[in-house]
């Protein structure tokens, strides 16, 4: 595990989201540090995605406050959007655009200077080993490749934080392992990674992990510490011990 500097990149205090009488996210507080890989775990319906949508400016908080890269989520969501990357389980790439066109589109949107886009696209395709797929429509790429491309596009503009919402759903373990190597590279470059996942082996790869149960953060520590605290051999056991306490129905 690499050492993390103590610069706080994401900070949440009593962050709450209510839908009518239902409290999806119940006063959560935590800090995420620069260059850290932060695992955001929880059963389906525990409120992970809602919390992430608030942090990325997609959803307004009901109460509480949070800052991302120093910007307040309630008052400066547009500033936040310039400094983050976001990749969701629903792929954001355009199926009817070619690989290079997708890269160019998002690079342009995030304000990468036009002159830099082409050489950086070449470099990226080379790193990914996608040189031959430059002109392939995204819809004909295999799922694992799409995920790698979507992640690369999400960090193309070198954001401060990248939010990953179940980025590796539906692919084989080898492809997932491969994907996590890309995440390590990004973190090593100083990009903070905030990821939700359902795979407990992936939780082991994180620097720190939080586990949400019924809208609250029940545990937050490094995987090693968590296993010690809960007297468990694997993260899987930790998760089960905590998830058992849930009273909320999974969706």
């Amino acid at each position: 595990m690499k050492s993390t500097t103590r610069d706080i990149v994401i900070s949440a205090q009593q962050l709450t989201k209510k839908f009518g009488r239902f409290t999806a996210v119940d006063a959560i507080s935590f800090d995420v540090y620069k260059g850290e890989i932060f695992g955001f775990l929880g059963a389906n319906g525990a409120g992970k995605t809602t919390a992430m949508r608030m942090l990325s400016g997609l959803s307004a908080a009901t109460s509480g406050r949070a800052t991302v890269a120093g910007y307040d989520i309630n008052t400066q969501p547009e500033q936040i959007k310039k400094t983050i990357g976001y990749m969701s389980q629903k792929f954001a790439l355009y199926d009817d655009l070619k690989v290079w066109e997708n890269i160019r589109l998002y690079a342009g949107i995030y304000g990468v200077p036009e002159k830099e886009i082409a050489p950086r696209t070449d470099r990226l395709l080379e790193q990914l080993g996608f040189e031959n797929e430059r002109n392939t429509m995204v819809k004909s790429l295999p799922l694992g490749w799409k995920q790698k491309l979507a992640f690369s596009v999400a960090i193309f503009h070198e954001p401060t934080v990248v939010f990953l919402d179940e980025p590796t759903g539906g692919v084989d373990p080898a492809a997932r392992r491969n994907f996590w190597e890309m995440i390590y590279d990004a973190a090593a470059r100083g990009i903070t990674v905030f990821a939700t996942t359902h795979y407990m082996d992936e939780a082991e790869y994180c620097d720190r992990v939080s586990i949400m149960v019924d809208g609250k953060i029940e545990a937050l520590d490094s995987p090693v510490q968590l296993k010690q605290t809960y007297n468990a051999r694997t993260m899987d056991e930790v998760f089960h011990q905590l998830a058992r306490t849930s009273t909320r129905k999974a969706d």
């Binding site: 997609l58 547009e78 976001y86 792929f91 954001a92 655009l97 589109l105 342009g108 304000g111």
Partner: protein, 370 residues
């Protein structure tokens, strides 16, 4: 950054297997074929004549009917029963029965009766057929009377002769009236409803969510969406103008500049309306159904098929909500009458109002976050 979005929209537009072809083909087909089939001119009413008189007068009447241009005389039957048969067989639409000794009765008693009966299964044809026939018979009647009175008194009978003159569409050709309106329908689809469906499809695929976490503002996103369809709208309109000219020799009496000017106003209004729909519809299915509902309402309220002035009062009042009404009005006036901007102040104000109203509503109802 909007440049990249516009680039994307154009790429997607041209890559679509369907849209570019429709933009070219639709105006051609609509302008060429629609006026031919949706034709309310009643020009060929098949008439069966029963002439029981066989006098010079009855021959004159028949000749008058035949030369009116509205009727084709399918048969001259021996009796009413035979004529009715041909109506039942659908070979005739109306019957004109001239009673025996019509001429004699007319000369002696100054009056005679003829029977007109029409098949009103097709109400339009039957109704118009009997109306045309009545007016021909009335005309004939007036002619005969003046002739007879002249013979008796030996001098001309003074009479008012009313000659109607139809301005702007002298032959009352239905196509000339329909084509400008058809152009508007195509424009409404291409400029208003296609972009709405495009936005909803991004909602369905989830890509709009990704756009919402980028620094792209909603204004940039929407403008980039609309631009290709605005361009397509003008292409469609230009093709329609050409098709109307090539196929029907129809050129506007007024200026193209006026037409293009009002078109831009209309596209702005209708695309705003499309955006409102896209904000409320979560799926393509919902959007299509909403569009279907409104387009039907707008078209029937617009005076496209039936003049607004002939609607019941409540419907006339309701018709002010149809933006199509005003632009169709403009197109017909410019095409047929050559109206210029000062004559079109009312539709100008109405369309500007619609543009502000719909686009304002679209902006207020669009949410980047929830």
């Amino acid at each position: 950054m909007i440049k990249y979005l516009i680039e994307k929209e154009f790429k997607q537009f041209f890559r679509n297997t369907f849209l570019p072809k429709v933009v070219v083909a639709l105006p051609f087909f609509a302008v060429l074929i629609f006026p031919l089939v949706a034709n309310f001119d009643v020009g060929h009413i098949n008439l069966s004549i029963v002439d029981n008189d066989k006098s010079p007068y009855s021959a004159q009447l028949i000749q008058k009917v035949a030369s009116s241009g509205y009727f084709s005389i399918t048969d001259v039957s021996a009796g009413y029963a035979a004529a009715l048969k041909s109506i039942e067989n659908n070979t005739a639409d109306a019957i004109l029965e001239i009673p025996g000794r019509m001429e004699a009765t007319l000369v002696r008693e100054g009056t005679a009766k003829v029977l007109i009966s029409a098949n009103t299964v097709n109400g339009m044809k039957g109704g118009l057929g009997s109306a045309y026939l009545s007016s021909i018979v009335a005309d004939f009647n007036a002619h005969i009377r003046s002739e007879l009175m002249q013979v008796k008194s030996g001098r001309a009978v003074p009479a008012l002769n009313i000659v109607p003159m139809y301005k702007f569409n002298p032959r009352l050709v239905y196509k000339v009236y329909m084509i400008p309106a058809i152009m508007i329908m195509i424009l409404a689809v291409v400029g208003g409803f296609l972009p709405a469906l495009n936005i909803v499809s991004e909602k369905e695929s989830g890509t709009i969510e990704q756009m919402n976490v980028t620094p792209v503002s909603k204004f940039q996103f929407i403008v980039a969406k609309l631009i290709p369809y605005w361009v397509a709208g003008f292409v469609v309109l230009t093709i329609s103008f050409l098709a109307a000219w090539v196929f029907y020799g129809l050129l506007p009496v007024g200026s193209f500049v006026t037409l293009y000017f009002f078109t831009s106003l209309f596209i702005l209004a209708i695309s705003g309306f499309g955006l409102v729909i896209s904000n409320y519809a979560a799926t393509i299915q919902q959007a299509i159904f909403m569009i279907f509902f409104f387009i039907i309402t707008f078209i029937f309220m617009s005076g496209l098929y039936t003049p607004v002035a002939s609607m019941p009062l409540w419907a006339q009042q309701l018709s002010i909500i149809s933006p199509l009404k005003y632009i169709i009005m403009v197109f017909r006036l410019v095409y047929l009458k050559g109206s210029t901007l000062p004559d079109l102040a009312v539709p100008f104000a109405a369309l500007s109002g619609f543009a502000v109203f719909f686009n304002g509503w679209a902006i207020l109802s669009y949410r980047k976050k929830n």
